[in-house]
Amino acid sequence: MTPAGVPTGRALAVLAGLALLVALAALGIGATRLGPWRLLAAIWGDGLSAQERLVLFNLRLPRLVLGMLAGGALAVSGALMQALFRNPLADPGIIGVSPGAALGAVIAIVLGGAVAPFLPFALSIPALTILFAFAGGWLAVALLSRVAFRAGRTDIASMLLAGIALAALTGAATGLLITVADDQQLRDMNYWAMGSLAGATWARVGMAAAVIVPVMALAPLLARGMNALALGEAAAHHMGFRVEALKRRAILLTAAATGAAVALTGGIGFVGIIVPHLLRQALGPDHRLILPGAALAGGVLLVAADVAARSLMAPAEIPIGILTALIGAPVFLHILLRRMAAGGGIA
């Protein structure tokens, strides 16, 4: 049983059921319709035309898996940031982690071409983009925590201001890089800035999985420490946790997951705030449930949003980042208003 009274098994079963539903929708809906029975038949390897097989296995399946991975990564990052900064409104996008990662990615996209010929084969441009996005995200969180942590307390106002400065810096640097980018790079950047799962290939899925799956597996190991951190840094220390090490690990995992998600899917915001918020409402705030739950529920939400983005204005595709912002920004305001009503405010 979770302390909220929801059996853990049932919560996971519900999430797994939802994952299956959105997976069927993601694989079946589109210009080439594939019903659930035909998808099942495809598993046994028959009943599909060559073109349908191509659509299913080379377009929709990698897109589904990339969506599950990126959504999970963003949600886990959000849950970790919220635990670290002890605030349910800390979202990697809002406090500047994603902008930092985005800056790294843009640098890699624009300048990567110049250095690519000298790089070993394994460091292709997409891999370089992930690496730079990770470095950018890590620098951003490291800077934020320097600003935010004062004598064991979290100074939310300073952190938000630093986040704004980071976002401005990213915007300016991106603008600067746009002036030196060539046409192909401009298309890459533009497409990437809006956030999309459309570029999913198995190669990209592989790169995402290599970073995100370990993060998802390691994050729950921090859960007990994150629970203790909810009582404050001093209390967590008194309860036996190495607070500085805990914070460093949370920052590292967040930077890795956010970096990979941003590098491969672009600017998809608010997943990191919606998913942990909904999970806390349903399951309570215990991070032993929230962290694994976010890995699954984040993917479900992002894939569901992607299905909506593909079908609402078909054949046109709404950039998914726009859709998540349309849902996420009101959720953010809702949480903020409720905290204000409870006398809590942003801090």
Binding site: N227, G232, M239, F241, R280
Partner: protein, 263 residues
């Protein structure tokens, strides 16, 4: 046993406690008294392993400066003046956060232990409530239950309870309830070290008083011997009546016309 040997604490470059050497025994309640700024909480933090110091502190034989947080958490639990809560945990969850060792991995036994502790502290049936909805007194008792659980399940022999101004903001009944719980803990062989402001409460709760003043220990002993009019005037800088009737323990009566002259 806590053994301090030549312990000095600094705030910036200023020495606020210089060369303190003493033993603090388990099985009794030791209360640290002193005016604001005399280093009471700083001393407690140093002994708890969260404040650097010079000299040597041994807690149950362990060198505090070489102990990691996990080792320290086995030996002592700390109840702070105020506790925060970033997320809406339930009361039972907050208390359960204190559990160590085998109990932490046994949900059924842990739930029963938490329920029993809550009942002992007058919070029966509070387990499923949102901890953020508690009053100040209820929240402090919830956190007391948490640190008692940590002390009980830690491997410290004896376990220690550090209380840093644990009754601030509590009404009289809850002040007494918290300190009575501390006395019960000491009666069972645990060590209790508390920082208090209220002299009368200190007299009621303490077996031994340590009075800090001007960088050192200016009085040490049972309340009946330590507290007197001269100490009040020199340490706290105030004239007040110290009464001993009807008990042999002193009690302080600050009358309306008492002439208070802060130094």
């Amino acid at each position: 046993m806590i053994r301090l040997d030549g312990v000095s604490l600094h705030r910036g470059s200023r020495c606020i406690l210089c060369g303190l050497s003493l033993d603090i025994r388990a099985g009794e309640v030791t209360v640290i008294l002193g005016p604001n700024g005399s280093g009471k909480s700083t001393l407690l933090a140093a002994l708890a392993g969260t404040m650097p110091y010079r000299g040597a502190v041994r807690l149950n034989g362990h060198d505090v400066s070489r102990c990691g947080p996990a080792r320290m958490a086995e030996e002592r639990a700390v109840l702070p003046q105020h506790s925060e809560l970033a997320f809406p945990f339930r009361v039972a969850e907050v208390v359960a956060l204190g559990a160590r060792g085998g109990l932490a991995g046994d949900p059924a036994a842990l739930a029963a232990r938490v329920e029993a502790l809550l009942a002992r502290l007058g919070l029966e049936g509070f387990g499923p409530r949102n901890a953020a909805s508690l009053s100040g007194g209820e929240a402090q008792r919830m956190h007391l239950a948490r640190v008692l659980l940590q002390a009980e399940t830690g491997s410290g022999a004896p376990p220690w309870l550090f209380l840093d101004e644990p009754v601030n903001g509590l009404d009289l009944a809850h002040q007494l309830a918290v300190m009575d719980e501390a006395r019960a803990f000491a009666r069972q062989g645990g060590g209790v070290l508390a920082v208090l402001h209220d002299l009368n409460l200190a007299v009621r709760a303490a077996d031994r008083l340590l009075v800090l003043h001007e960088g050192g220990l200016c009085a040490d002993g049972p309340p009946g011997r330590v507290l007197n009019d001269a100490l009040l005037e020199t340490v706290f800088g105030c004239e007040a009546l110290m009464n001993r009737i009807p008990l042999d323990r002193p009690f302080l009566l600050v009358q309306a016309q008492a002439n208070i002259t802060r130094q």
